[in-house]
Amino acid sequence: MVSMAKFFLEFTVEESCGKCAPCRIGNKRLHELLGQICEGKGKLEDLDRLKNMSLVIKDTSLCGLGQTSPNPVLSMMENFREEYLAHVNDKKCPAGQCKSLMKYIINAENCVGCTACARVCPVNAITGERKEVHLINQEICIKCGACFEKCKFDAIYIS
């Protein structure tokens, strides 16, 4: 939900005309703060700031664009507050959408060593001999999810 709100904000940041300050700058700052939260750099007090900024942008913007742009943030914070809390408190993304907060991990029990994941990995982050358990190097992994899609044995999971 956090990344969803960020997606919508990205659109309004792009499409704001720039005439009034809350929409021009406020949406940008809102987007930046959501970015921080998505990257696991958010603090609990940021949620209050997020809400305050959203309310002020709604309250002071000149036209319908700015008056509605923070709605996704506000409604998602209200209805999915636990997701936001998970981001700032546990540095986790329950929906598995925030790349900075997720890891693809190979479950040794399920992995049969078919090498399909290693072959599909665009950055060669997966190593392992044929018929042996494979391993994802988290330093290299770009979290594209290609291995996850490819694996037929449910051996890759998101943490």
């Binding site: 720039g18 009034c20 406020g26 940008k28 309250d59 000149l62």
Partner: protein, 592 residues
């Protein structure tokens, strides 16, 4: 008049229909803070895009906060200007604005006179949350001959845009980009130099931040003053003396002619002269040209073009060279007083004191930013040596005086040097809208009719109306005078001339609203048009105090013609004191 009753902060008030909440609150003594808003009501100039959202208040029954600058009072409205919701919104919006503004206040040219700084102070902002990961909108810096644009500091108040488009109709500045990267500048983010900009400086005069400032020439002047091989001559424009005091905390409209002269001498200028002298000279040349064209016209000479247009204002010259280049033969060919002064100083006066023009540096103190560009024009130099070397604004002079540890308030009045410091009241009023044509009429009347002018003050030519007209009686010959200040107003008169509909004999144009007193290089008025009116009054006071008030009676002008020029309009006069005009669109293209 229809009125509406409303309540603001529990106080009832009745105002005429159409009044904004901001103005109604002001009547109640409630000062709602504003940032982008600007109202020069005497000049009929208003900027209220409703963009900064600082002036928002709570209006009962409305879902959102309302900007008071552009929300009109309605019957029964209940307005609250300082609820927690309002104050929080105002602070948050201000934090937004500051989060995208450079924090180099210490070294910003606007420091101390910056309206954004003032507002941050007023709202008590002490920190800007999230600054550590906040991206800033950045732009290329652009320096033109007169104006520096540093758009990193633009807060999109749109005042410059209003001045450039609605008031001046120059059309050089408009908003570009959108969203976070939006700012104001010439089309396609071109340099100002390649746009239709006239350097009138009205954008600089209204910019609340350091986004638009003038090019600083003080260091060059300082260098010249410290060069023992140079004789440094300074001239001061009439409007400077009526405004300089404001920079030192004096009341608007305080005349500081004598103190300014003393300060300039203390700064080390070898000769402190007055542009007013050159203004008197301009009247002789321009007045002669007018009378020549008029009498030929009256005799039926079709080649004599009427009306004649004044040519003292460099912003105005830039404007018609760009937009009316097909009418180059209409304006007077007389140079502006600044350039006439330079030409005479580096010829007549240099000869008189026995030095080479290359060893003389002429500095002008001007209210105007277009003068910086004007003195750099190729046609105003001899073998690469300009007639006027540097032009600095009233504001630059003030900082220069402060840097030199001069306490101008306690200086004793001093007189200008002779001969180029002697002037009449006619030269002084050049600083006000209508002043040039009034000065010209004082002289032209006496020469044309051969009679003595009894009533010196042509009050019908004065005022702050954007376009004014009056018919003067030159002993039976009606002389129709048109006056415009602000280039948008000039455009109206010019279009009539272009379409052959103009009935005027002579038209005076000054690019800036109010004339030179309202120029872009003057102390900042911060949207208070009373300041401009006070300066205008000061100029007329100075005129009244002068023993001589007609240019052709200036004994040093008479002497200049006897010793050097011959007579007005002579070959030598033409060589030194007249110019020709260009198609500026072509010039800009070549430069590009």
């Amino acid at each position: 008049m229809e009125t509406v009753k409303l309540t603001i902060d529990n106080k009832e008030i009745e105002v005429p229909r159409g009044t904004t909440i901001l103005k109604a609150a002001k009547e109640l003594g409630i000062e709602i803070p504003t940032l982008c808003y600007m109202d020069l009501h005497d000049l009929n100039i208003e900027n209220k895009p409703g963009g900064c959202r600082i002036c928002v208040v709570e209006v009962q029954g409305r879902r959102n906060l309302a900007p008071t600058c552009s929300t009109k009072c309605e019957p029964g409205m209940v307005v609250k200007t300082h609820t927690a919701r309002v104050l929080n919104a105002r602070r948050t919006v201000m934090e937004f604005i500051l989060s995208d503004h450079p924090k180099d206040c210490l070294i910003c040219p606007k420091s101390g006179t910056c309206e954004l700084q003032d507002m941050a102070h007023r709202l008590g902002i002490r920190e800007i949350p999230g600054q550590e990961f906040a991206e800033m909108s950045t732009y290329r810096k652009d320096t033109s001959p007169s104006i520096i644009r540093d758009l990193d500091k633009c807060i999109m108040c749109r005042r410059c845009e209003t001045m450039c488009n609605d008031v001046q109709t120059v059309g050089a500045l408009s908003a570009f980009n959108r969203g976070f990267q939006a700012a104001v500048g010439p089309a396609f983010e071109q340099n100002l130099e390649y746009s239709s900009c006239t350097y009138c400086g009205q954008c600089v005069a209204v910019c609340p931040t350091g986004a638009l400032t003038e090019v600083n020439h003080v260091p060059q002047v300082l260098k010249a003053l410290n060069d023992p091989t140079k004789t440094v001559v300074v001239q001061t424009a009439p409007a400077v003396r009526a405004a300089l005091g404001e920079e030192f905390g004096m009341e608007p409209g305080t005349l500081v002619t004598g103190k300014m002269t003393a300060a300039l001498r203390a700064l080390g200028f070898d000769y402190v002269f007055d542009t007013d002298f050159a203004a008197d000279l301009t009247i002789m040349e321009e007045g002669t040209e007018l009378l020549d064209r008029l009498s030929r016209h009256l005799k039926g000479d079709k080649t004599a073009r009427i009306p004649i247009l004044t040519s003292c204002c460099p912003g105005w010259v830039n404007f018609f060279e760009y937009y009316y280049s097909d009418m180059k033969d209409v304006p007077s060919t007389a140079k502006s007083p600044q350039q006439m002064f330079g030409a005479i100083a580096k010829s007549y006066f240099a000869e008189k004191i026995g030095i080479n023009r290359k060893d003389m540096v002429v500095v002008s103190i001007m209210p105007c930013l277009a003068k910086k560009y004007e003195c750099q024009r190729d046609e105003f130099s001899v073998d690469g040596n300009p007639d006027v070397d540097f032009s600095i604004s009233t504001r630059e002079l003030a900082t220069f005086i402060k840097q030199a540890n001069i306490d101008i308030r306690n200086l004793h009045d001093e007189e200008f040097d002779s001969p180029l410091g002697e002037s009449t009241g006619a030269g002084v009023i050049f600083g006000n809208t209508g002043g040039v044509i009034e000065a010209a009429c004082r002289t032209a009347y006496e020469i044309f009719t051969g009679k003595k002018l009894e009533r010196l003050e042509f009050t019908e030519l004065r005022g702050m109306e954007g376009v004014r007209s009056a018919t003067l009686d030159f002993d039976g010959t009606p002389i129709k005078i048109g006056i415009a200040h602000g280039l948008g107003n000039a455009r109206k008169l010019l279009d009539d001339v272009k379409n052959g509909k103009s009935e005027f004999t002579a038209i005076e144009v000054m690019a800036c609203p109010g004339g030179c007193i309202g120029c872009g290089g003057q102390p900042l008025h911060h949207g208070n048009s009373d300041i401009i009116k006070a300066r205008a009054a000061a100029i007329y006071t100075e005129d009244r105090k002068k023993p001589l008030r007609k240019s052709h009676e200036n004994p040093f002008i008479i002497k200049l013609y006897e010793e050097f020029l011959g007579k007005p309009g002579s070959e030598k006069s033409h060589h030194l004191l007249h110019t020709h005009y260009f198609d500026r669109k072509d010039k800009i293209l070549v430069k590009k």
